[in-house]
C-alpha cells in the first residue's frame, strides 16, 4: 500500500501531455515586466529609476522586511519605466519595466554547467544567501524560502520534505526538473539539510512519475539521509499539510506551521534555485514554466526569465489556438484565469494552461442535493456545503467555528459537486470576511 494523506482527496485526470518534453531555453524577450511583489509578505522597495542600466542578476528592488524577498533584474538593459500593471492576480501592481539589451550578467554569477557539490558556507550563511538571492516557494505559494529555513526559537526541524508531488493536472515543470537536474537537486537538498541542521530528507513523488522516482532514488542511494518516498496519486497531495501527513503521518494542527510537527517542506523548483543561489551565486531570475493545454500544438517546458510576457511563451509553444476560451496561470485546480496575455511570468508561475471554449465555462448551478460528496473529498475535513450557506447567510461566527480559515482552497469540493455549486467561490468570500473580523479583534 503506497502512502498518501488521510482525509478526503480526489482523482482528476492528470493529462500531463508535456511530461516527455525536455526543458528548452526560451529566447530573451524584447522587454520584461518585473513585479516588485512576487511573494507573500511585504513588497520589495524599488531601487532603480527610469533610464538606469542594469545587468542580469542585479538587485532592482530590496526586500521590504523579514517576510519579503529581493527582486533581481532578470535581464540586462535599460529601465524603461516604473509603472503599475495588472498582473496574474488581476490587481494593479508596481512593476519595473526593462528594455532588454544584450545578455550581460553580474560577474559574481557562475553561469557554467559544472556541478559543484562541496558546500563551503555555514548554516547561517546559507539562510542569509537564500534571502539575498530572492528565493521564494516556487510551487505557487511564493513564501520567502529563507523564513522557512530559520525555525522560530524552541522549534526543531526533524525532517526536511522535498515536494516533488506536482499533483496539479497538466503541469510538468517539477517533473522535468527532477529528471534533468537530479544531481543539482541532491546538492540543493544537502544545502537545505545543512541550513536546517537536520539529518533526514524525504523527497515525496507521486507514483505517476515512475521515471523521476527511479532517477532520484538512484541518486539518493549514494547519499546519507536522503530518501525518495513514492506516494499514491491523489490530489491535493502537493499541499504542504497533506504532504507532511502523507510522508510522516503527522497532521499540522489548525492555524499552525509545519515546524509544529517538526517538518519543513520545500518544492523541487525551490530546491534547485537554492542550489544555484548558494553554489553558483545566481539569484532567482529564471524558472521552468510548463505551457500546455488540449489545443496547444507544441506543449513545452520552457526555462524562461522572470518578467517574460505570457504571450511570448504561448507563441513559442505553437501560438494561441483559434478556439481559445481561457488562459490559466498555474494548474487547472488552483490556477488563476488571466484577463490579458501580457502579464509576466513571476517566481510563482509553474505553468500556463490554455483551454478551448468547450472547457472554459462552468455549468449552471443546481440545488444542493446534500449528497455529502464535498464533505467526503475535503482534505481538511471541512463541510464545504455548510461553509457556503454560512457565508451566503452572513453567519460568519458559525463559519469561523466551523473552521472556514482552515480551507486551503484546493477546489476539490467545487470539482466534485454534482450540482456544480460554486462552493469554493463562497468559501473564499467567507474566508475574506472572517479574516477581517479576526484581524479587527486582535
Amino acid at each position: 500500500m503506497l502512502k498518501t494523506f488521510s482525509i478526503g482527496g480526489i482523482h482528476p485526470a492528470d493529462r500531463k501531455i508535456s511530461a516527455d518534453k525536455s526543458i528548452e531555453v526560451l529566447p530573451l524577450p524584447k522587454r520584461v515586466v518585473v513585479p516588485v511583489a512576487q511573494h507573500i509578505g511585504a513588497p520589495a522597495k524599488t531601487e532603480v529609476k527610469k533610464g538606469d542600466l542594469v545587468k542580469a542578476g542585479q538587485v532592482i528592488a530590496k526586500s521590504g522586511g523579514f517576510v519579503s524577498a529581493n527582486i533581481h533584474s532578470p535581464v540586462s538593459g535599460k529601465v524603461f519605466k516604473l509603472d503599475e500593471v495588472v498582473d496574474a492576480s488581476g490587481y494593479r501592481k508596481p512593476v519595473v519595466i526593462i528594455d532588454v539589451e544584450d545578455d550581460e550578467w553580474e560577474e559574481s554569477i557562475d553561469r557554467s554547467e559544472t556541478l559543484k557539490t562541496e558546500i563551503t558556507i555555514s548554516s547561517e550563511e546559507i539562510v542569509k544567501k537564500v534571502g539575498e538571492m530572492g528565493i521564494v516557494g516556487m510551487g505557487g505559494a511564493t513564501f520567502p524560502a529563507h523564513v522557512k529555513l530559520a525555525p522560530p526559537p524552541g522549534k526543531k526541524c526533524e525532517v526536511l520534505i522535498i515536494n516533488g508531488v506536482e499533483c496539479e493536472p497538466f503541469l510538468t515543470s517539477d517533473h522535468r526538473v527532477m529528471l534533468e537536474k537530479g544531481d543539482e537537486l541532491i546538492v540543493g537538498i544537502r544545502i537545505l539539510m545543512k541550513a536546517l541542521k537536520v539529518d533526514r530528507a524525504v523527497i515525496g513523488i507521486e507514483n505517476n512519475k515512475p521515471d523521476a522516482i527511479k532517477h532520484l532514488s538512484q541518486l539518493a542511494d549514494k547519499e546519507q539521509g536522503i530518501e525518495v518516498q513514492p506516494l499514491k496519486v491523489q490530489y491535493p497531495q502537493g499541499g504542504e499539510k497533506q504532504l507532511i501527513d502523507a510522508v510522516t503521518g503527522r497532521q499540522v494542527p489548525s492555524g499552525k506551521l509545519p515546524i509544529e510537527v517538526g517538518a519543513v517542506v520545500h518544492n523541487v523548483g525551490t530546491t534547485l534555485a537554492v542550489y544555484e543561489a548558494v553554489q553558483k551565486n545566481k539569484p532567482l531570475i529564471e524558472r521552468v514554466v510548463t505551457v500546455t493545454g488540449p489545443g496547444v500544438s507544441k506543449p513545452s517546458n520552457f526555462l524562461a526569465r522572470i518578467g517574460t510576457p505570457v504571450s511570448q511563451l504561448i507563441e513559442a509553444a505553437g501560438g494561441l489556438p483559434d478556439n481559445t476560451g481561457k488562459v490559466i496561470g498555474g494548474g487547472p485546480m488552483m490556477g488563476k484565469a488571466l484577463s490579458n496575455l501580457e502579464v509576466p511570468v513571476t517566481k510563482g508561475s509553474s505553468g500556463i494552461l490554455v483551454f478551448p471554449h468547450e472547457e472554459a465555462h462552468r455549468k449552471p448551478m443546481e440545488n444542493c442535493i446534500r449528497c455529502g460528496k464535498c464533505v467526503s473529498v475535503c482534505p481538511m475535513g471541512l463541510e464545504p456545503y455548510l461553509l457556503m450557506i454560512e457565508t451566503e447567510k452572513e453567519l460568519l461566527d458559525r463559519a469561523e467555528s466551523d473552521n472556514i480559515m482552515d480551507c486551503i482552497e484546493c477546489g476539490s469540493c467545487s470539482f466534485t459537486c454534482p450540482a456544480t455549486r460554486p462552493l469554493l467561490d463562497y468559501i473564499r468570500l467567507g474566508k475574506g470576511k472572517v479574516g477581517q473580523i479576526i484581524r479587527n479583534r486582535n
Partner: protein, 338 residues
Amino acid sequence: MNQKLVVSPSPHVHSGDSVSKNMYGVIIALIPALLASLWYFGIGALIVTLTAIAACVLFEWVIQKYLMKATPSISDGSAALTGLLLAFNLPTNIPIGLIIIGAAVAIGIGKMSFGGLGNNPFNPALVGRVFLLISFPVQMTSWPVPVASRFQYLDATTGATPLSVMKEGLSSGASFSEIMSEIPSYLNLFMGNMGGSAGEVAGIALVLGGLYLLVRKIITWHIPVSVLGSIAVFTAILHFSNPDDYAGPLFHILTGGVLLGAFFMATDYVSSPMSRKGMLLYGVGIGVITVLIRVYGSYPEGVSFAILIMNAFVPLIDRYMKPKRFGEKIKAAKVQKQ
C-alpha cells in the same frame, strides 16, 4: 487576438458528475428489483410502477410550472425516482386512484412544499407510502401471492406476509421454529418468493442494485452497513437469549422492507446526514427503531417509520456530528523510517 478570454475563479475543471447522473444511477440500480417484481407480481407490478412514475413526474411538472412559476426540471430524474420508489413500497393490487393520491402527497407535500429537490427533510416516497398506510390500512395491507397473481390486478389472490405471520404466530404462543416451517424457506425469502410490497421482496435483486450503487460510488457503505448491522445485532441478542419468542436476525433482514430501505430509502441524499459519523448514527437509529416497532409495536413492519423518524433527526445530527477536521489529533508517532 480579437476574442475575449473567460475569467473565473478556480477550479477550472469539473468531475463531470451531475445531479441527473446520480438520480439515473439509482434508477438503474433499481432495475433488477423491478424485473423481479414483474416476475413475481406480473401485470399488477407493471400497472403500479407506471402509474406511480407517471403521476409523480406529472405532479412535479404541474407544481413547478403553475404554482412555483419555475422552469420544470423533471428531466433530472428525481421525480421519476420518487415514483419508482413509491411503487416499490406499495402492494401490487392497490387501486390506481390510491397510487395517484400517494404520488400527490409524496411530491406535493413530501417534496415541493419544502421547495423542491434538495430541500425536503423527509424521504418523499415514504411520506406518500405512510400517508396511504394510515389512511387506507385495508388496501395497504392486502398482499398478492407471488407468481400465482401474475395475471391479476385488483382481483389478485392475497395472502399474508412472512412478517405478519410471524407477528401473529409469536403473539398466539407459537415458537419461532414452528412458524418458520409455515413460511417460505430462507432461500425463497432471499429470492423474493413471498408476499410483500412490489419492490421489497427480491433480496437478491436489491443487494445486486446496492452493490452497483457502492461500485459507482453513488452511496457509501456507511448507511446500509449500519442499518443492516444494527438490525442483525439487535435481533440476534433477542433471538439467542430466547430462541422461541424472537425471530432470528436472518429472518428480519430478508423480510419486509429492510434491504430496500437500507440500500435505497435510507440512503436518499437529501434526507440523510452529510458526515460519515452522522451516517453511522443515523443508520443505527433506523435499525434500532425498526426492530423496536417490529418486535414491540403493533405494526408487523417498521422500516418506513424508522427512516422517517430518523429523517427528522438529520438536522440535529448534522449540527453535532462534524467530520474529523485535519490536524484535530496530532499523531504522537515518530516519523517512521522506511
